[in-house]
């Protein structure tokens, strides 16, 4: 039995896994201690719960538990990494490298740092959404202190060549921060093997609760130091003051453990479902374009543009399905997705895109239903579309003099 609305927007957030929730519950009412209370049982209990969670995350990303700093989420982790490094390593250099398709938590942080005098290079991507390693290599200068490149993109799911970037950073003695918010728990991450010095992640993207995330900060080879964003009690090795959100951290830890155990099977299942969704749509409709690299992407992600129909009107016809669009009309800026534009996708097709985000609780029945509804809605809107009519009459839409407004 299908349950409505169907949630197919797992890049935005995920439901808490019931097993993670169960682990959290005692820490609200019975085991409510402050993990920083060193002199009584309530504190010790909370501290040991936090330590266990630290271990669970450390195991998932292959680091030492002491290298984990808990934060309020990936936005904070990204801010802490970039601003913390910029401040701490200012005497060593004033240049950073990132990519145009990064999340706003990186791009807007970089922009703020530029106002303080830091210079930032924004690497472009190819039509598949991948960076060019040669361009990265030549962007590194004597003044470069940090490279920040995401693991998997939140819109198109494209996975960057992280190990190669890590190796390059190491060769040139530059720190490497990876915003792995969309990747941790979905693809194997090994910060040591991949040469990552700092890594951001978030619990609610991997079936843990909202409001908790982490920053991995390497302790050895090299020992990375960052200036804190907030001053206070010196929690988290002085890098992130503030009483720890113990119940959320416990849920985060459990979510990590579940992801580690189930990742391989889950990825295989979801990539099959994702391909099923993609094939059904492509077989039924013409002029549908896949956005992002066809294979080097998250198993959970499908991003497509449907020529001649506008994304928001498409979503409106799919009210019973929770999806996201790169259409400008779904944002407040009236600009279509900057990620799709960076891939060289024309504004018209960027306006026409849908992002499907499958997750742990997606079923084949849901996928079939969504495919069918997308097909119907696109057909209906194309019947309504003057552009489709013109294209069918053989008019080259690019040759038309549009009255831009």
């Amino acid at each position: 039995m299908l349950k409505f609305p169907i949630f197919m927007d797992n890049h935005s957030t995920t439901p808490v896994d019931p097993r993670a929730l169960e682990a959290m519950l005692p820490y609200f009412t019975q085991k409510f201690g402050n993990s920083a209370s060193r002199n009584h049982a309530f504190g010790w209990e909370a501290e040991s719960a936090v330590d266990r969670a630290r271990g669970q995350l450390a195991q998932l990303i292959h680091c030492d538990p002491k290298e984990i700093i808990f934060t309020s989420g990936a936005t904070e982790s990204n801010n802490l990494a970039l601003k913390g490094v910029a401040e701490m390593y200012r005497d060593r250099g004033d240049h950073m490298i990132t990519v145009v398709t990064e999340h706003k938590a990186i791009l807007d942080t970089a922009k703020r740092l530029e106002k303080t005098g830091l210079s930032v290079t924004y690497l472009t991507v190819d039509s598949n959404g991948l960076i060019d390693l040669t361009a990265l290599r030549s962007a590194i200068t004597d003044k470069t202190i940090l490279i920040s490149i995401m693991l998997a993109n939140n819109e198109i799911g494209v996975i960057q060549p992280i190990s190669e970037i890590g190796q390059l950073a190491k060769e040139r003695g530059v720190l490497f921060h990876c915003d792995a918010t969309q990747g941790v728990g979905k693809v194997p991450v090994d910060v040591r093997a991949m040469g990552i010095d700092l890594l951001s992640c978030s619990a609610h993207k991997m079936y843990g609760p909202k409001g908790v995330g982490a920053l991995y900060v390497r302790k050895k080879n090299p020992r990375v130091r960052i200036a804190p964003l907030m001053d206070g009690g010196g929690h988290e090795r002085g890098m992130r003051s503030g009483t720890l959100n113990v119940p959320a951290i416990v849920g985060f830890g459990m979510a990590c453990e579940i992801c580690e155990k189930e990742m391989a099977a889950e990825s295989a299942r979801l990539s099959q479902l994702r391909d099923r969704l993609s094939i059904r749509i492509l077989e039924a409709l013409d002029e549908v374009y896949l956005n992002g690299h066809p294979t080097q992407r998250l198993a959970q992600n499908l991003n497509m543009s449907f020529a001649y129909v506008e994304g928001e009107s498409l979503l409106m016809g799919l009210k019973e399905v929770a999806l996201s669009s790169g259409s400008a009309c779904t944002t407040t800026t009236l600009e279509p997705s900057y990620v799709l534009r960076s891939l060289g996708v024309g504004s018209d097709l960027a306006h026409s895109s849908l992002r499907f985000g499958l997750g742990r609780f997606s079923t084949e029945e849901e996928v079939d239903y969504v495919a069918q509804r997308v097909i119907e809605s696109v057909r209906r809107l194309r019947e309504m579309s003057p552009l489709y009519e013109m294209a069918k009459e053989g008019i080259d839409l690019k040759s038309v003099q549009w009255a831009a407004h």
Binding site: Y308, V309, E310, E312, S313, M316, G317, S327, A328, C329, T330, T332, L334, P336, G346, S347, D348, H351, E383, M384, S385, P386, L387, Y388, E389, L397, W402, A403, A404, H405
Partner: protein, 127 residues
């Protein structure tokens, strides 16, 4: 984005969706907007003895753009060309309860009406 009941109704049951013969001398066609901007409206009207006897639209755009053009065709039918020229985007905004971010949809619909009328007048002047 939440839509007014009227926008949803026009989106789900568009009035007068389709095309008229653009080569008919009594038909005026207006195409406004641009694909890059995310909305293109085609609005057509057929005039008989100074009165608009039929109107059709096709729209590429968000739900509010579809609703604005659907509503415009409803209003056009039965009006004289001169009366049609007085339809204002603000009338569309209040009828559909469009939020500020969607006002451009109503502007586009007004532009489409004016463009269709201009096309009709041009055709009939030339003769």
């Amino acid at each position: 984005m939440s839509y007014s009941a009227k926008v949803i109704d026009h989106y789900s049951n568009p009035r007068n969706m389709g095309s008229l013969d653009k080569n008919d001398p009594n038909v005026g066609t207006g195409i406004v907007g641009a694909p890059e901007c995310g909305d293109v409206m085609k609005l057509q009207l057929r005039v008989n003895d100074g009165v608009i006897e039929d109107a059709k639209f096709k729209t590429f755009g968000c739900g509010s753009a579809i609703a604005s053009s659907s509503l415009a065709t409803e209003w056009l039918k039965g009006k004289t060309v001169d009366e049609a020229f007085t339809i204002k985007n603000t009338d569309i905004v209040s009828e559909l309860s469009l939020p500020p971010v969607k006002i451009h949809c109503s502007v586009l619909a007004e532009d489409a009406i004016k463009a269709a009328i201009a096309d009709f007048r041009k055709k009939n002047q030339a003769e």
